[in-house]
């Protein structure tokens, strides 16, 4: 399913926290490419640098050295504000704790990103409603996050991440707070979105369920890519 369109290209990425003797080498020398339509998972022991790498790809954090090219743009050359606009327009994020805005309804949370992008109301409504239907969220539009189960909240969070058709969706430990059945259904849903809309997903996880869905598994160890393998469950 993945074309050869390169979305992300990392070269010699190093990320240190602190400096000098006490510097923590979170990422040592990472080369990685992500292609349009990928459905990839990063795995590895706790502290190996998965979240750090995800944050760097998402433009939330800066590299110590090396380069990140996102859709042809070199992150090192962009200001924080420009990075923020790329996150707004081209990247979707899903978090472990859902992080929905508690004062907005499910519908409004999903619509929020479209508002940021200044999409006209008719299109906003169409996009959100279609997505909610597709994601089995119909009927929950007017609920506040606290009136939803964890799995439902995470579905809304996924809807928020994909509603604007971003180039890349980054998902950090998104199944950590839900049971395995819910995890299964979340992944099924995302796989469906991947297939129907060709949305690119990059996960970081400890969860074997996620791994089962992945078409590519990236194994990290001590801040280095240990192995990149095409998953068994290939389509």
């Amino acid at each position: 399913m993945n074309s050869n369109q390169e979305i992300v290209s990392l070269k010699n990425v190093v990320k240190n926290y602190g400096s000098g003797q006490v510097a923590i080498k979170a990422l040592q020398d990472i080369d990685l490419k992500i292609y349009k339509g990928d459905f990839s998972v990063m795995m590895g022991p706790s502290g190996c640098g998965k979240s750090t790498l995800l944050n760097i790809i998402g433009g939330l954090d800066r590299v110590t050295s090396g380069s990140v090219i996102f859709n042809g743009k070199d992150f090192n050359l962009l200001t924080n504000k420009e990075l923020s606009l790329i996150r707004r327009n081209e990247i979707g994020f899903v978090f472990q704790n859902y992080n929905l805005l508690p004062v907005l309804t499910a519908y409004e949370n999903a619509e929020y990103v479209l508002m940021l992008q200044n999409i006209p109301i008719s299109q906003r409504k169409e996009k959100v409603m279609n997505l909610f239907k597709e994601m089995d969220l119909e009927g929950l539009e007017n609920r506040l996050p606290r009136e939803l189960s964890g799995g439902q909240q995470q579905r809304v969070a996924i809807a928020r991440a994909v509603v604007s058709n971003p180039l890349l969706v980054l998902a950090d430990e998104i199944t950590a707070n839900v049971d395995s059945k819910t995890a299964q259904s979340l992944l099924t849903l995302m796989e469906k979105l991947n297939k129907t809309n060709n949305t690119t997903f990059l996960f970081s996880t400890h969860d074997p369920i996620v791994k089962n869905f992945a078409r590519k598994v990236i194994l990290l160890k001590d801040g280095l890519i240990d192995k990149e393998e095409q998953a068994s469950k290939n389509i």
Binding site: N55, S84, R87, R88, F95, P102, V113, M115, I121
Partner: protein, 418 residues
């Protein structure tokens, strides 16, 4: 930022305000206290001053006084102003002016068998005085003057005691006429008044203006002072300028009550400064508690802000959100505070302060004049709005620090600390 997005942000601000209802109510309460108490005090205090100024102006020589330009420095009997019938007629036709009163003042000495006391004789028109001044109401024995009374006077209670005279009793008044000649006149007491002011009750007597003129040697057209009672005592500066230009003759000058009674003016000014200072202290304390709640509510939501920033919300958009939260606080709290302040002031109207502070009304005096201790609040809309607006601005300033914190948020740190 599009208008739609701004609306959404404002909506988020509004909804965020009610997330922690208890804290929001505490903040609102602080704002209500912070605006309400100063407004209450100012309404009461300014009401007292306005009442005092009006009383004194009506008792003495008006909000504006026309007199000889040197009279202020040494109020001697030979400093008078002329042509006053014409001036008076023009003044009565002025819409800003309620009343005028013609006064002849004579400094002199009163003698009885008991002794002699330096006094001030105030020659007035009884009918006008009854309409204007509160002195006629304060006759405690005998009666107030009427136009036909020739050598009858009303005297202060203390003076009557000091001279040992009662109603119907006589005393001799010695003074200089305008040529400097010593003259004497025999007066009989018609009434005794008590104003509560030691100065006035101990040294003032009032007679008909005609007899005072005769003693002084003044013509019908000549007086010591022309008192002007205006409709709006707060805005008399322009009027004074106008009158000075159009009406003042030779040595005459129009002066405000502040110039005529500098003691009263100074005391009121000092009192107002003290109250203002006290209020600012209070406001600072209230703002401090506000500040901590606003700061707390921001710090508490750091992770939420971080996740919004992560998905592409601009810092400015979050800053606007926080700013509007305090705007809402101000918009709800300040008018409510004003309402409470005005309401409580209104509720205390007519209450005698002596019931609270104790003591005698004689002891309450400003610049030598007795003060009315009954609460008569003054509701000045501009002043109330000014206090409201000041507090509103102060609350808005509080949001600057939390807003500043937004630019310090590290998205990755906050998301990790989940």
């Amino acid at each position: 930022m599009s208008a739609k997005l701004l609306l959404l942000i404002i909506k988020i601000s509004w909804l965020s305000l009610w997330r922690n209802k208890r804290r929001t109510f505490i903040s609102l309460f602080s704002i209500i206290i912070g605006t309400g108490i100063p407004i209450f005090f100012v309404c009461i205090a300014w009401g007292f001053y306005a009442g005092l100024i009006d009383d004194v102006a009506r008792l003495m020589s008006g909000h504006i006084t026309y007199e000889h330009k040197d009279y202020r420095n040494s109020p001697s009997n030979d400093l008078w102003v002329g042509d006053t019938i014409k001036i008076n007629n023009t003044l009565t036709n002025n819409d800003n002016i309620l009343f005028t009163k013609q006064i002849v003042n004579l400094q002199g000495v009163a003698h009885t068998a008991k002794g002699s006391v330096g006094i001030s004789l105030m020659g007035i028109e009884p009918k006008k005085e009854i309409a204007i001044s509160f002195l006629p109401e304060n006759i405690i024995e005998g009666k107030y003057l009427s136009k036909v009374d020739e050598r009858l006077v009303v005297v202060g209670e203390k003076l009557a005691k000091n001279l040992n005279i009662a109603i119907g009793k006589k005393f001799v008044f010695t003074t200089n006429d305008i040529k400097g000649e010593l003259t004497e006149e025999l007066f009989r007491v018609k009434g005794i008044f008590k104003t509560g002011s030691k100065e006035i009750d101990g040294h003032l007597i009032q007679s008909n203006i005609a007899i005072a003129r005769k003693v002084a040697g003044l013509s019908n057209d000549e007086i010591s002072q022309l008192g002007i009672i205006v409709k709006n005592p707060d805005e008399h500066e322009v009027l004074i300028d106008e009158l000075q230009k159009s009406l003042a003759k030779n040595n005459g000058i129009f002066l405000s009550w502040q110039k005529i009674m500098p003691d009263v003016a100074t005391t009121i000014r000092m009192d107002r400064t003290a109250i203002t200072f006290f209020m600012i202290m209070l406001v600072v304390i209230v703002l401090f508690t506000m500040f901590s709640t606003i700061l707390m509510s921001t710090l508490e939501r750091k992770r939420e802000f971080a996740s919004l920033l992560a998905i592409g919300t601009q810092q400015i958009e979050l800053k606007v959100q926080i700013f509007f939260e305090t705007i809402f606080f101000g918009l709800i709290g300040c008018p409510l505070g004003a309402l409470v302040g005005v309401g409580v002031a209104k509720w205390t109207e007519g209450y005698d302060m002596l019931n609270v502070v104790g003591g005698k009304s004689e002891d309450m005096s400003v610049g030598g004049f007795g003060m009315d201790t009954v609460i008569t609040p003054l509701f000045s809309a501009p002043l109330i709005m000014q206090i409201c607006f000041f507090f509103f601005l102060a609350v808005q300033l509080l949001s600057f620090f939390p807003i500043h914190l937004i630019s310090k948020i590290s998205i990755t740190d906050e998301l990790r600390s989940a």
